[in-house]
């Protein structure tokens, strides 16, 4: 089968000035286009160029508000389908699959009706044509889906097959009903100019009861031909229809039908209806006369209607595998030299040939959106109708189509959430694709970030969790929201970032002398343990609190432990020791002798490291002086405290 070859459509970018060269870059579902200064010949132009970047989207359907309902509802059905248990054998699941297929179709129909309403009511002609196009595409989609449901999913055997196909044709041929309505509502239906059209349409669709009722109206008007009408009525009422639920076997039905067929043929040959053109025509149709059927091209309007009618009146016990012979021949007979075979026709033909892959392939080419093929293939896969048809990169067709569809959804600012479920049900490549895509969802508000995070956490995508939390934390940090930043890094269990934030807090403290965001630091709780720096911050604040509450002994103990347990960063030790000064200077001895020894040890450690570090030629003399004074003050206080402590501890109370 040849590829459908169409000329690419040309899209004008309105804002780019005529004659300019355009540069472009591929996006996931679109192209970014911009104006350039490049000139094919001659020197490049100078001067200001266009300052816009244009986004050219191929798939407009995603952004249509009415079609969005299609995407959402079908997503719901899709998820429901995936949860059907695998252990039950497929035979008993068939009714379930059929009902799911019907659900999909009713969703398509609902969308189509809404689009139709809008198309009719809108005043904008361009929008009206666009809606009209969408409606016709949806019509075609539903037609194809319905046929696939009948042939593949329901897979009716000979006998019922024709009945289902009849339903299919009736559903997609609303003309007859509209005309019938007109006719019946008129004053004298039998005289309406569409009257015979309606009757013939009914016969063509196998709706013989309704045909008989219509004919009865004519019969009353022409009492002279009463016998003829009675005869016709008799023939119509006697036509056998296969009853799948009944006790009659197919062979018995076949015999009965042949008998009836012969009877009709006899009457035709007897010229019983020759005086009435219309009745003769109906008789010819009942016999299955091809020429008579072909004459009714207008009423049939499509080759597949012709096919079904022909089968009804020539081979009602047609078997599924025989269908394609008839289909091909009907197609050729119906299309004369003027009309060309449309893509829809090829797709339907492929369906009649039971070539599922061809159907899917052609649909993929013709439609601009993966929605239809993705969902249909998924359903067919569940019905175990697709053998694993390996593509070049190893995944099967269903997964490929679902991933294409979901990737398209992901570029939509809103529908990305639906896409996540699709990726979930692609066992091979879904997770990898999701990981790539989820990081690129723009995070405008915290709430959106929370939802994205929940998606990642549920699937244990820890890399993505960390990266998203880091983005949010950096943003918070940039806006000076330290508490927010900290809560994000706690969620990601990001120790490095927590350290960064604690450093900021400590810096703030050093510059301002007080802590900002006390409500946060005071209530860290177990989160404190996330990073050493954070623990230090919490404990340091606790020290301040204890000091404020005048619980000096405990404060002192805490302060010391901060240094000895190496929780405090070396850079902060000077500050801590300076904080110890007021405690040392108290009248009451707070630090015990041992504790004082430890303090002195810390001081020595600090000063020795300061000494070994290159004496900064850049640090001005005054700073060094200040440092020196501080150290000396400390040494003095420590010595004094040591003296008092030794004395106190040596004293025995008598």
């Amino acid at each position: 089968m040849e590829e459908v070859d169409v000329n690419p459509t040309v899209t004008n970018i309105p804002a780019i000035r005529h004659g300019k060269h355009m540069g472009f870059a591929w996006g996931p579902e679109d192209i970014l286009v911009y104006e350039t200064q490049f000139k094919a010949s001659g020197p490049s132009l100078s001067g200001p160029g266009g300052s816009f970047i244009h986004k050219v989207r191929k798939d407009e359907d995603i952004h249509s508000p009415i079609l969005r309902k299609l995407f959402n509802e079908s997503h719901h059905i899709f998820v429901g389908l995936q949860t059907i248990k695998e252990d039950v054998p497929s035979k008993s699941k068939k009714p379930q699959f059929v009902s799911i297929s019907r659900n999909y179709r009713s969703v398509i129909r609902a969308c189509m009706e809404e689009l139709q309403q809008v198309a009719v009511s809108t005043k904008d002609t361009e929008m009206a044509t666009q809606y009209g196009n969408q409606v016709s595409i949806l019509l075609a989609i539903e037609l194809i889906w319905n046929l696939c449901e009948v042939l593949f999913i329901d897979a009716a055997p000979a006998g019922s097959l024709l009945l289902h196909l009849l339903d299919w044709v009736r559903l997609h041929n609303a003309d007859a009903d509209e005309k019938a309505k007109d006719v019946l509502q008129s004053d004298s239906p039998a005289e309406h100019h569409h009257y015979w059209d309606v009757v013939v349409s009914y016969v063509l669709q196998g709706r013989l009861e309704e045909a008989r009722q219509m004919l009865a109206k004519q019969a009353t008007r022409q009492p002279a031909s009463r016998n003829m009408y009675k005869l016709m009525d008799g023939l119509l009422s006697k036509m056998p229809f296969y009853n799948p639920g009944g006790t009659q076997t197919l062979t018995e039905f076949d015999v009965k039908w042949r008998n009836w067929h012969e009877e009709v043929d006899r009457y035709l040959k007897d010229n019983s209806f020759s005086s009435n053109y219309h009745l003769e025509l109906i008789c010819k149709i009942l016999v299955g006369d091809e020429d008579a059927l072909l004459e009714q091209k207008e009423l049939l309007s499509t080759w597949y209607h012709f096919l079904i009618t022909r089968l009804l009146y020539c081979h009602p016990t047609v078997k599924p595998i025989e269908l394609h012979y008839y289909a091909q021949s009907c197609l050729t007979m119906f299309l004369d030299s003027r009309s060309v075979q449309e893509p829809l026709d090829s797709i339907l033909l492929a369906a009649f040939e039971f070539d599922i892959y061809l159907v899917i392939k052609d649909c993929s080419i013709v439609l601009n959106n993966w929605w239809f093929v993705a969902h249909l293939t998924d359903l067919l896969d569940h019905c175990k109708l697709l053998h694993s048809h390996n593509l070049n990169f190893g995944s099967n067709m269903r997964e490929f189509l679902l991933i294409e569809y979901a990737s398209g959804l992901f570029t939509h600012h809103s529908l990305w959430q639906c896409a996540v479920d699709y990726f979930d049900h692609c066992p091979e490549l879904g997770r990898a694709c999701l990981e790539l895509q989820i990081e690129r969802v723009p995070l405008d508000t915290e709430r959106k970030a929370l939802k994205v995070l929940r998606i990642c956490e549920d699937r244990q995508m820890s890399e993505q969790v960390r990266s998203i939390c880091k983005i949010m934390a950096m943003r918070a940090l940039r806006n000076n929201r330290l508490g927010s930043a900290l809560s994000w890094s706690i969620r990601a269990k990001d120790a490095a970032f927590a350290t960064l934030i604690s450093e900021r807090f400590l810096q703030d403290y050093c510059t301002k002398g007080t802590f900002s965001d006390l409500d946060l630091i005071d209530n860290l709780g177990p989160a404190m343990l996330l990073s050493d720096r954070l623990t230090f911050l919490g404990k340091y604040r606790e020290f301040h609190k204890l000091y404020g509450e005048k619980r000096f002994k405990e404060a002192a103990k805490l302060l010391l432990s901060l240094m000895t347990a190496k929780i405090a960063p070396r850079s902060f030790w000077m500050t801590l020791l300076t904080d110890a000064l007021p405690l040392l200077e108290q009248k009451e001895v707070i630090f015990s002798a041992d504790q004082t020894y430890e303090l002195m040890y810390c001081l020595e450690e600090l000063t020795s490291s300061l000494d070994t570090a290159a004496p900064g030629a850049d640090s001005p003399m005054q700073e060094q002086d200040v440092e020196q004074t501080k150290v000396e003050l400390l040494r003095l206080s420590l010595a004094r405290n040591l003296a008092m402590a030794i004395v106190k501890e040596g004293t025995v109370d008598t």
Binding site: P65, R68, N72, E73, T445, R447, R454, D519, L520
Partner: protein, 344 residues
Amino acid sequence: MESAKYVSLKISKTRWRPVSHSSLQQPDIFATGSWDNEDNKVSVWSIGDPGSLGLEDGFEGDPQLICEHKHDGDVLDLQTVSVSQQWPRAHRYPCDDAPGTGVACSSPEIVTVGEDGRIIVFRADHEGVVRVIENADSSTLHAVTYLRTTEVLTVNSFGQLKLWDLRQQNNSPSQVLSLSGDRVPLYCVDRHPNQQHIVATGGQDGMLCVWDVRQGSMPFSLMEAHSAEMWEVHFHPTNPDHLFTCSEDGSLLHWETASPSERPSFLQGGGSSSMTSRSAMAPAGGNQSIMSAWLCGDPSKSRLETTHMLPSQTLSVNSLDVLGQCLVCGTDGEAIFVNRQVPV
């Protein structure tokens, strides 16, 4: 039961238009706000009057759109006020606009909170901002509700409930309550309609916490509700033994608690025996106060019943509102569910 109405917009908030208590009417008009769309909208919908159409039980007409209005940015909270004004850029960062996350009204005052940690007070008839509490919180404030006419309660990303007295001029909360364990962010808060000291919150871990604001800084009870973030919690306004929660995991739960005894609670007065046997902690006011079933420490004793209200699992249910017998909720699946036969 409800069926979904698909509206082509992810719904972030739904709210019933308040109906006056005297008219015993069921509410029929609700508003929805959308989010995550290029053009977000606030839409007003009406569900037809069921009585006049003689429809069978449970089946109701689809919500019909009455009007809609464009909205810049996501709609994060919705309240009905009789007058509308615009206060642009009320919430902001030094270099960006910050999203406002919650709104509470106690006519004519309106209080909003945002990701910038600010609490801003407006008046419906006043053009400018009435008061700003800067740096009320160092993390994001997610929701706000009125406790009394001059007090508001906020919840933040650090799992803290803060009580603010708006009469006071200092910018610090008068009370802070939080869980002692993991600091789980809280996203929603609602006050018991009759007993103002009872507050329910929900947060990131999907746990429903009921707090007694008068005593202690710890929640009274913790119940596992959902498997993902809880977005909204609502006490039923006229029948507070019923509570509704909705969550990111796509479920909407209806909590029903039976009163400790068969007699209505206002007759209980001095009967201490039935009450103390149920609660783990004695209530602050002794046995004179009217106990609420929510403050029973042991959920199994207080006969808490939970029912799922949505027919099947959907994408996240972002918002719900309940008034009378009608419940409306909106989901990320771009669907609105309306239930007019809520058993309360």
